[in-house]
Symmetry: C2
Subunit: 239 residues, 2 copies
Amino acid sequence: MNPQAIKVACSNCNLRELCMPMGLKPEELDRIDEVVATRRKVKRGAMLFSNGEKFTSLYAIRTGFFKTCIATEDGRDQVTGFQMAGEIIGLDGIVHDHHTCDAVALEDAEVCVMPFDRIEELSREVTALQNHVHKIMSREIVREHGVMLLLGSMRAEERLAAFLLNLVQRLHARGFSQSELILRMTREEIGSYLGLKLETVSRTFSKFVEDGIVEVKQRHVRILDTEALKRIVNNQSCQ
Amino acid sequence: MNPQAIKVACSNCNLRELCMPMGLKPEELDRIDEVVATRRKVKRGAMLFSNGEKFTSLYAIRTGFFKTCIATEDGRDQVTGFQMAGEIIGLDGIVHDHHTCDAVALEDAEVCVMPFDRIEELSREVTALQNHVHKIMSREIVREHGVMLLLGSMRAEERLAAFLLNLVQRLHARGFSQSELILRMTREEIGSYLGLKLETVSRTFSKFVEDGIVEVKQRHVRILDTEALKRIVNNQSCQ
DNA sequence: CGACACCTTGAAGAGGTTCAAGAAATGTGG
DNA sequence: CCACATTTCTTGAACCTCTTCAAGGTGTCG
């Protein structure tokens, strides 16, 4: 895999508002361009980085779809997130200068490589960038709180409903449909993320179909009743 | 509750190595002292900050023990972490300038108040501080990955074993016993953190006692067989 | 077109929850 | 300092959700 060395600019990237700070002065914007060293293509199924690998850079996803996951010696495996265009990946590597999870492309993808030392250097000078980096990390912490809530207190239907709502919401923010989506991951990967077995994911999809909440044809999902999904997530059981 | 305004210095704090960067030059150390504005005492049961509250500062725990938790409108509740001396709390607030969880003192506590704008300002000048802030946030992200693995793939015994090992390990790093600890939280709070009901936590403790792995008298726990706990966490099931 | 990966569905079983009752510890006010 | 109220913890029994095991179906890619 040869990392393709295409020099590119954030300043005319249409994802800028997703992965970079907004409201920059022109001269700051020029400096931000220095953050992105190169772009790199990652084939479906290939790893962007893997557990144990030396940490050098954060990556902004330009196109494609990733999963991050951790695997333990004893064979356990946990998907810790799914990432799409405009999202930043690789934050786990900062603490120990080595990555602690794998990032796998679930479809052909392209990322902007942002060497972290350059980010640190530049964010000492451009306050907006510094603040942006902090917010990105904090956002990831808050997102994970949400996943903990899901894994710790929700039942299968609630988990899958929350998962679908979260996916369409993020896709919608990127200009895609509010009601239709194509899953880039397998039932098993969804299950891993949601703390369920793939059979349970499949059964729960089937139940949603029976109830007229969604249409499912393999990985193609059409949401027929968003409100019903929201009710499933918010209502019931409590504690 | 009157926030006690005692001006203090990191430079002679024995927790420095836990919450501040190491290997600073003397002049940098002096500057770091500027980060801590005041200290604040928090009574057992009181909140350091709460969901929705304006974010202004990070807090370094000097003494005492906290839990952080999120509560949803529909009555769900999830403990997202337990924090002890030397740990930093409040990172969730950075993204939206408001806290998204509650931080509750589980015993009388004292924290160092570190206004975040001051942290940002200073970390533009002191590279070691900048790097330290990044590492702290990344560490929290990695910790949460571990919790996701626990919640997503472990059974009750494995969760409790992992929980106990994590607690003693952190306590030991602070000079306490490797084998004895006092739980500062209730069974219900442990359960919330581990995605279990309090009865299950209680039963699992009882099982560990039967198996001669620990001694439990209410909140006082003595670990008799650390290796057994490790085996419980690492071995079995897989998939 | 055939091999392989992925998905669905059924039936049985296990692990954890729920409900309930009682015991132990803790805190409070007289 | 003791009595009482309250919180916390333990344990049992029934139940339920999700998992496990198994088999067959569907889709995809070389």
